[in-house]
């Protein structure tokens, strides 16, 4: 870079400031005059303009979402009900629930639908759908997926349709401490035992 004399250096700063629109009237007049007459200054101006443009064209980056505070819980709520949170997640979710009424409401709704589904009775499969009916006991207990899905959907619809009327429109109340205890209890029960609870 060739050394500039003081005037040139000062002029170069003014050209940069001109790009940002921060010149005084006097400075502006000087810059406009120079840009009308001085080819070197014009070349300098365009180079500065390109450098400025290049930086400004760089995209604004997306901030990684984990750096932002979470507003509300989502899938953690179901995992909390099912005792499926990690030991690190549980106290965080629990603390959030203590302070967030909105998430407690969602949790209560999820809990109601979870209970409704778990309370469904077992259904004996129709004979014509169960070709192995007589072969094993285990097979006899199996519920066809279509029937189970339809029954589950019906139960959820009933729960959400009748629920609010049955409770007189009251807001659900839910105890985080109870859920924490349940979380610990569910987490400690082997999966096989949980499944057997839903058997007829």
């Amino acid at each position: 870079m060739a050394r500039m004399n003081t005037y040139q250096a000062q002029l170069s700063i003014l050209l940069s400031c001109y790009l940002d629109g921060v010149l005084t009237d006097e400075e502006l007049n000087e810059v406009v005059h120079v840009l009308d007459n001085d080819l070197e200054a014009i070349a300098e101006f365009h180079k500065l303009k390109e450098a400025r443009r290049a930086v400004r064209l760089m995209p604004m980056l997306e901030i990684p979402s984990h750096l932002l505070p979470r507003t509300h819980l989502d899938e953690e709520l179901s995992a909390f009900l099912d005792g499926e949170l990690s030991t690190q997640e549980t106290p965080i979710v629990s603390a959030h629930l203590e302070s967030c009424g909105e998430c407690r409401m969602v949790l209560a709704d999820l809990d109601r639908s979870r209970i409704a589904i778990r309370a469904l009775p077992g259904v004996e499969s129709p004979v014509f759908l169960d070709v192995h009916r007589e072969t094993t006991t285990a097979t006899r207990r199996r519920i066809p997926a279509v029937v189970a899905l339809a029954t589950g959907v019906a139960a959820v619809v009933i729960a959400f349709t009748v629920g609010p009327f049955a409770s007189g429109g009251e807001q659900p109340t839910i105890s985080i401490a109870d859920l924490n205890a349940r979380h610990a209890a569910v987490a400690s029960v082997p999966a096989a035992v949980q499944i057997s609870n839903t058997a007829p």
Binding site: L15, L48, A51, M58, M60, L61, P64
Partner: protein
């Protein structure tokens, strides 16, 4: 701005987090350092909001951001934001065919690489002005220098970038 008197740190995080992250990334070229800075700044904002007195919120926030950034550099003494010796810009743009130059020179990776080679004060001024969009006055407040110094730093930063990048003819 009076609206800032009622901001929570979560509001600040959602409103300014992306800018702070971009600011840090453009200064360092390193996503981990940028993430560290965001966390540190939000922590300081959380502590500082209680004692924040209405004034230039942007100036306050970016002063915190800048101080956190500089503290981070001092603490970690990490890798290299050391500028090249004056006049030695051979590491950049040392290549090749005009077509390649035309195709690549303005890619943001190249500009990013050039940015991190600027001396810190110039880089900071250029990033605050051209990436974050602060006014000269806000930059002066955040960096605690006179506006004349801001003007000079921005200009010198741009001049060095101009020399670091190869412009198509």
């Amino acid at each position: 701005m009076s609206e800032h008197t009622t901001l929570t740190w979560e509001d600040v995080a959602h409103r300014y987090g992306r800018k702070i992250y971009t600011f840090a990334y453009r200064l360092t070229g390193n996503p981990d350092d940028a993430a560290d800075l965001v966390q540190e700044v939000l922590l300081r904002v959380r502590k500082g909001l209680a004692s924040y007195t209405p004034g230039s919120f942007e100036g306050w926030l970016w002063r915190i951001t800048r101080n956190a950034f500089l503290d981070g550099i001092r603490k970690k003494k990490r890798r290299p934001t050391v500028p090249l010796p004056e006049g030695d810009f051979s590491a950049l743009g040392a290549s090749p065919s005009p077509d390649e130059v035309l195709a690549s020179v303005r890619l943001s990776d190249d500009v990013q690489a050039a940015l991190v080679k600027l001396p810190y004060d110039f880089r900071e001024a250029v990033v605050m002005c051209d990436v974050v969009g602060l006014t000269y006055e806000e930059i002066a407040e955040a960096t605690d220098v006179p506006i004349g110094t801001v003007r000079s730093r921005i200009h010198r930063g741009r001049s060095m970038l101009r020399d670091l990048l190869t412009w198509p003819v």
